[in-house]
Assembly symmetry: C2
Homo-oligomer: 190 residues x 2
């Protein structure tokens, strides 16, 4: 999506080979009009997939996922992070290990909001190692729903997340794909 | 706002005198069309206040705040929760004590996103004790910005949050005000 690529070129900061800061329009300060356009773009890409619900992981995925859900007129489900590990029979639960933050957390989903008849689109802000997306997949599959695909705003294509998901038969749609980065240098993948 | 009151009557669950569950349309599953209407209602209420930015606290305030910011065409700032207490000179920081969750956390705001010229509208999902809103106010005031008001979807008017904020000269706008609750009973305030 050209609009996002232009914004990344203009306001994104490539700190080093791995860290891209998009604090000024995606993470800390959000540009709602850009978010709305990105939501429409995602909805348009998946328009023939009979999506019944959008799912995301709290909290940085909420903004793009909400705009995608609004563009599709379907509900948004927020997969909740919980520090506790208390078993609850009303919830699907799975443990996620975050390498970047060096912590464990539990991702939960209330059983009543997703059924086997649903077609789910997962939306998140970033795809890098794919640990959050893989956990979301694992959790959503417990409901036997169909996973229609995963949409992310920015993919770091040089990290293994994309390949991990595609090898499981999941369609990955990224609005901007970064092939390579270094300090003050960003190369997009075509 | 009648639409929200109707939805609360229909799908909200008053568990006891204090707990209202709105998991099915506000917290866990989100109704994006309702969220959009609520965002427009908030934008309309504050249309003469020259709002330059909307601010919210991650993560349950993000959805209504994003829709309000979109309706106003202004940026949204997400005040970030951090477990760590490392001082950082690029950030405004304040500690919040959550009585409901019995934890402490730090709320942070990057200095570069808010200035003394800004007119800020704070948007959140719930107002009860007012601890999160008070912390957001404290944090935003460090930037010397003007606080134009606080908008919340649901106010528990029988708890002290509303009074705490109004006594500081802050306008509080709630889309639904609950005067009284008990198991399976909700009385709205006019």
């Amino acid at each position: 999506m050209e609009l996002l690529k232009e914004k990344i070129k203009q306001d994104g900061i490539a700190v080093n080979k791995h860290i891209l800061k998009v604090d000024s329009f995606i993470n800390h300060q959000i540009d709602p009009m850009l978010m709305q356009e990105m939501g429409k773009d995602i909805a348009d890409h998946f328009k023939d997939r009979n999506i019944t619900k959008v799912a995301t992981i709290e909290s940085s995925g909420i903004a793009p996922a909400l705009m995608a859900a609004a563009a599709m007129s379907v509900p948004l489900i927020i997969l909740k992070k919980q520090p506790s590990k208390i078993l609850n029979q009303d919830l699907y639960q799975t443990v996620v290990t975050s390498f970047t933050k060096e912590t464990n957390y539990e991702l939960t989903l209330s059983k009543k909001y997703i059924s086997a008849e649903d077609h789910i689109l997962i939306v998140d802000d970033f795809l890098a190692n794919g640990e959050a997306a893989t956990a979301a997949l694992r959790l959503l599959r417990m409901s036997h729903a169909t996973i229609a695909g995963i949409a992310v705003l920015i993919e770091k294509s040089f990290q293994p997340g994309h390949e991990k998901l595609v090898s499981q038969g999941i369609e990955v749609y990224a609005l901007a794909r970064i092939a390579e980065m270094s300090e003050n240098y960003i190369k997009f993948q075509n």
